[in-house]
Amino acid sequence: MNIKRFRKELFSRSKLRAIIAIFVFLALWELGSRSNEWFGFTPPWIGHVPAPTAVLVAWYALLGDPGYWQSWYLSTLRVLAGFFAAMLIGIPLGLFMAVNKTFNGIVFPAFEILRPIPPLAWVPASIIFWPTQELSIAFVTFLGAFYTIVINVVGGAKSIDVRFFQSAQSMGSSQWDVFRRVVLPATLPSIVVGSAVGMGITWEVVVAAEMISGGGGGETGSGGGLGFFIWNSYVGGSYEQIVVGMISIGIAGFICSELLRKLGSFFTPWLKKR
């Protein structure tokens, strides 16, 4: 029975169509990339991209390479460091801004004028400021997630119905109780959303920061990370590895976001019932 349902699920029309679509996409890609050797004609754009089969071969060769896994490890480490720092500072700051009007009035405008500066524009300044390259990459990563998390926390806390506060206070709850029983549960969903979005941005930023600091600074080997791996493959002319790197980052980002979503729904079980 269970197997039957599983098969039904697997071979449902939408799944089938998805599989067909991806195969067609891969086939077109292969055709476009190989058309130079097969037909002696290079189509624009796609003609310069390595073929999927070539990418698979390159990937297979890399699986046994410790340097490749080292890149995974380094990037993940930087993402996690930046992301947790952003959570650790961003969530309390956002909550405090939502609770205290005066503090909000002072901090929010200053926060808002810094926000339009893209995190990557901070890369050179952060390299100058932080003593090690590791710290400067982590700082830019932190900035990427920080803005999103703070904005989401403030937004979530501000949209709480005033009546919840009033009823809690009229039933004699202390400041701490109001915070613990009203503010925190009400903002948790937006904290989860903010973190998920922030995680996505963190991966974007880490890749670019690794490329810029590695590619621009010329400190070969010391940087590491998947972004650096891609850039190095580009400089070294092994174009298949660029695509391998891109897919690896895609997978890593996807896993992180999914884990975060699972963790989020674990902390906000009441949202599932709707």
Binding site: I22, P116, V207
Partner: protein
């Protein structure tokens, strides 16, 4: 209520704000004080309009009747707000709205005819008050000019409806009286002071390498900049223009391609089942990981940067548009089909307008991520542009120029998002008006 208190309340209200004190006292003598409980109806639509009301405390819900073509028929009034202005209109002696108290409310009422008679004695003041009434009716109650045109005037000079400037000035003065601007200045002050003191006065360890506040601003506004980039050099504007042009091209392409794709993805199930999986497989790859591949695919230095910017905007626009189509109530399409609409008509009349709000949300996100990836693209490859300025200033050790580039980027980025938001609000206004008139 004391006369002084009434005068103070009148001074806080939009129409009476600029009236001289002696006239205000005369008006205050006309005022009667009343209080209502929560849920009380002050008047219904169509009642005889005798008095003008000013809220002293509490909250009143003001609902304009259908047929007056208000853009926003609902309005909540708080302390200092004026309503019941039908009592001072010419040729209008019945209430246009229904008003209900939302909580315990205290207010003063002034007889409209007595007020008009009082202004006949001081026509100049009367005209100012009445033109402010007209502005208020137009802007605050969003009623078209015909209604505001009924406002009487006393001198021979014809009264025109005041422009929004009066209202803007009023809001500005209210804002200046609140603590907000001072807190804001404190915040900016702390930010700039931290920068100044840590770098240039105390010379704290790591901070001393950073470009300082005065150094950056001297360079930025210098006629003869040391590192060659300030508001007086043409290169500065050339870099800004190059970045803006890239954004414009990428944003335009992303909108032109992303909106139709999103609409079709949401509209046709078959199309979505075939196309969306490919879209979803490519999406987790960060835009910035595309940089080297983009350089390979598009030869040269200009196209790769535009492609990256485009890609980021494209995802945001297409996804939000699709989401917008999905949120449209199925029954609208069914109703259209029942009335004999063809597939194309349903698409044009139901799907496209229904997805509008989401499309604009998407465009706002899209312009943000466009700047985000433009900077990355310019830093890694490309000649000219603000990202390029920041990166080369670093490699050439022109540190103050880095900060000039960052600040400029922030300003230009902010202005472009604001423009998209204003454009969206403008289009939405049309939609809101349509919704409000929908009940007619």
């Amino acid at each position: 209520m004391e006369i002084d208190q009434t005068v103070a309340l009148l001074k806080r209200s939009m129409p009476f704000q600029t009236v001289p004190n002696d006239v205000l006292e005369a008006i205050a003598k006309l005022a009667r004080y009343e209080s209502y409980a929560r849920g009380d109806v002050i008047y219904h639509q169509g009642d005889f309009a005798d008095d003008v009301y000013i809220v002293s405390s509490g909250a009143v819900q003001h609902t304009l009747g259908i047929g007056f073509q208000a853009i926003h028929p609902e309005k909540i009034l708080h302390s200092g707000d004026v309503f019941g202005w039908a009592a001072v209109l010419e040729n209008q002696r019945s209430r246009l709205a229904k008003t209900v108290c939302l909580e315990r409310t205290e207010l003063i009422r002034i007889n409209g005819e007595e007020l008009i008679n009082l202004f006949k004695a001081s026509p100049e003041t009367g005209d100012i008050v009445m033109s402010r009434f007209a502005t208020m009716i137009n802007k605050e109650y969003t009623l078209p000019e015909e209604v505001a045109g009924h406002v009487p005037h006393f001198t021979q000079v014809p009264v025109t409806v005041a422009t929004g400037l009066t209202l803007t000035m009023f809001r500005l003065s209210q804002w200046l009286k609140s603590p907000k601007p001072y807190l804001m200045l404190t915040g900016f002050g702390i930010l700039l002071a931290t920068w100044y003191f840590t770098v240039e006065v105390w010379k704290l360890p790591r901070f001393v390498d950073m470009p300082g506040l005065t150094e950056v601003f001297k360079e930025w506004f210098s006629k003869d900049p040391i590192y060659g980039l300030s508001i007086y050099t043409p290169e500065y504007y050339q870099h800004i223009w190059v970045s803006v042009r890239r954004i414009l091209i990428a944003f335009f392409l992303a909108t032109v391609l992303g909106v139709p794709l999103g609409l079709f993805l949401g509209w046709s199930k078959t199309f979505r089942e075939y196309v969306f999986p490919v879209f979803e497989t490519l999406r987790p790859i960060p835009i910035l990981a595309w940089v080297p591949l983009a350089i390979l695919m598009f030869q040269g230095s200009e196209t790769p940067v535009i492609f990256l910017t485009f890609l980021a905007s494209f995802y945001a626009t297409a996804l939000n548009t699709m989401l917008g189509v999905e949120t449209i109530d199925e029954s609208y399409s069914r109703a259209a089909a029942c009335l004999g609409a063809s597939k194309w008509q349903t698409f044009k009349e139901v799907i496209v307008p229904g997805a509008m709000p989401f499309i604009f949300t998407g465009l706002q996100i899209s312009i943000g991520v466009a700047w985000f990836s433009l900077v990355a693209g310019e830093m890694v490859s490309g000649e000219f542009g603000l990202g390029y300025v920041i990166n080369t200033s670093y490699t050439m050790v022109r540190y103050p120029t880095i900060v000039i580039g960052m600040i400029t980027l922030g300003i230009v980025g902010y202005v472009s998002s604001a423009l998209v938001r204003v454009a969206g609000d403008y289009m939405m206004q049309w939609r809101v008006r349509e919704l409000a008139l929908g009940g007619r």
